[in-house]
């Protein structure tokens, strides 16, 4: 096994690491929750609030992947990393092709009417001719 350890290692090193990661996850959840209750979106702005919340989520996710999913000890890390790397690149490519352009044209403040509650007048249609 690539992530094989001695029983001593599991008892003295790995189990404390599990508690540490558990602590990081709980702390991250409390920080995000408290930040929302304190209204950081109002104080920092919506974009900064998203960056903050996603940063905390990424830290939590990294701790889970690195320790709980034991990528840290996988000496053949390259197989998994390549799989994940290709997935992420493929996914970003797909999303950029489909979603990216769409979001770009709908940013707040742009000239389109997405962000204002104004109903465009119905275009007049010519009566159907048979």
């Amino acid at each position: 096994m690539s992530d094989e350890h001695s029983p001593e290692y599991y008892k003295k090193k790995f189990i404390p690491l599990i508690y540490l990661v558990g602590g990081i996850l709980i702390a991250g959840t409390i920080i995000t929750f408290a930040a929302d209750k304190m209204g950081i979106a109002e104080k920092w702005g919506f974009v900064n609030a998203i960056i903050f919340a996603m940063s905390v989520a990424v830290v939590k996710a990294s701790a889970v992947i690195y320790i709980f999913m034991h990528l840290k000890w996988d000496i053949k890390l390259k197989t998994i990393s390549l799989t994940l790397g290709c997935t992420v690149i493929f996914f970003i490519g797909m999303m950029w092709l489909t979603v990216g352009r769409e979001i770009d044209s709908n940013k707040p403040g742009h000239s389109d009417n997405t962000w204002s509650h104004v109903t465009e007048p119905e275009p007049e249609t010519a009566p159907e001719t048979k």
């Binding site: 029983p7 189990i15 929302d36 109002e42 000496i75 997935t87 769409e102």
Partner: protein, 382 residues
């Protein structure tokens, strides 16, 4: 035929086959959930002001479920470590703990969080006058300022200057009043109460609809039989039980938390802050109905609970959390299988193989946890 490399590494991948397989599966899962996350972001960024129903989530319940999943992620690693240390009893102990945490997560979702949404309604009004009449009943004659503030907090908390907010252009009739239906008045003027479970008025037209469809008479070719009035004919002894089919003159409504004040409690607790509506002397509302208002049917343009059809937000919310809950359920079934006696026999026959199975289950379970780590801030907080 013996499947190779189930308990030792395959030379080219450096992983036993099961582990390589689960990582490929997780890669496909990343794309599935990633696409849904992207769809959510796209829909939210492109949403018109006043249509993205944020601020309606129960954040405490969401946070509780997050902690539950975190705990289960830690206990499943502990179960795997116990097997590495040849501790079968310890494995069972931690595995059961994981199952209990996972089950608690689903129970909270299934028995409280979703049902509470299915019995919580938004009322949109027909005209400015009808909206104004009801808001005056709820908030008093000076309702405009309070109502604007509450509305702003729900849909557009970042715009401090209300005049410049796009929401200022949303008409009063299009600003729904949220709360619970606790009764209705039929066309004969008779008042009916809606039952409650755990203090939550228990009536969802989505729920009733299923019951309703079941009791419709069918023709031989299985098509619906319609009566002379153009409505479906019901089986003998059964009645129309949908909200829409009842001949309703008015609904008796309790304005609730969400639109009004996040700190408010349900009316039953007597702690409703803003919903001190005038007592409707026309109807014999007694105890527990002190905060109700009566809204005539002709004043209602749209009535919807927080079900998927309510808005794009709730459609995506149920899609994302429903798919995630299915993964939790799948994980529970696999973990229960590992606690059956047959698994003990597999362990005794080949401990490495069984330990690998637990590792694979753990990897899947951590992924389920990872998805929730991102779902919680996106759906509940931001």
């Amino acid at each position: 035929m013996e499947i190779p490399y189930y308990d030792k590494e395959r030379p080219d991948t450096g992983l036993y086959n099961g582990k390589a397989g689960i990582w490929l599966f997780l890669a496909s899962e990343v794309m599935l959930f990633g696409a849904l996350f992207s769809a959510y972001v796209l829909l939210r960024v492109g949403a018109e002001p006043g249509t993205w129903s944020m601020g309606l989530m129960n954040q405490w319940v969401g946070a509780f479920n997050t902690l539950i999943l975190i705990a289960s992620s830690a206990t499943i690693v502990m179960a795997w470590v116990c097997l590495k240390l040849n501790d079968w009893k310890g494995f069972r102990k931690w595995k059961w703990a994981t199952v209990i945490f996972a089950f608690t997560f689903l129970v909270v979702k299934w028995s409280y969080e979703w049902p509470a949404k299915f019995t919580h309604y938004d009322v949109t009004f027909v005209t400015e006058e009808s909206a104004s009449k009801v808001y005056t009943d709820v908030l008093g004659p000076e309702f405009s300022e309070t109502q604007s503030k509450i509305w702003q907090e729900r849909f557009d908390p970042l715009k401090k200057d209300q005049e410049k907010s796009p929401l200022a252009q949303v008409k009063l009739k299009d600003k729904p009043l949220d709360g619970h239906i606790v009764g209705y008045i039929n066309s004969d003027g008779v008042e009916h109460e809606v039952g409650a479970a755990w203090g939550i008025p228990f009536w969802s037209h989505a729920f009733a609809w299923r019951h309703d469809r079941k009791n419709i008479e069918k023709e031989k070719d299985k098509s619906i039989r319609y009566g002379e009035d153009g409505r479906p004919v019901y089986k003998e002894g059964h009645f129309r039980d949908t909200f829409r089919d009842k001949d309703i003159k008015a609904i008796i409504f309790v304005p609730a938390h969400g639109t009004w004040d996040r700190e408010e409690k349900h009316a039953g607790s007597g702690a409703v802050k803003y919903a001190g509506a005038k007592h409707d002397a026309g109807h014999a509302h007694s105890e527990g109905h002190d905060h109700t208002i009566t809204i005539a049917r002709e004043d209602i343009s749209r009535l919807s609970s927080y079900e998927p059809a309510h808005s794009t937000f709730f459609a995506t919310y149920y899609t994302l959390t429903g798919l995630h809950a299915l993964h939790v359920l799948g994980g529970i079934l696999v973990m229960l299988y590992h606690l059956l006696p047959v698994s003990r026999r597999v362990y005794e026959k080949n401990p490495v193989q069984f330990t690998n199975r637990i590792e694979i289950t753990g990897l899947f379970w951590h992924f389920v946890d990872l998805v929730w780590i991102f779902l919680f801030p996106i759906l509940y907080l931001l």
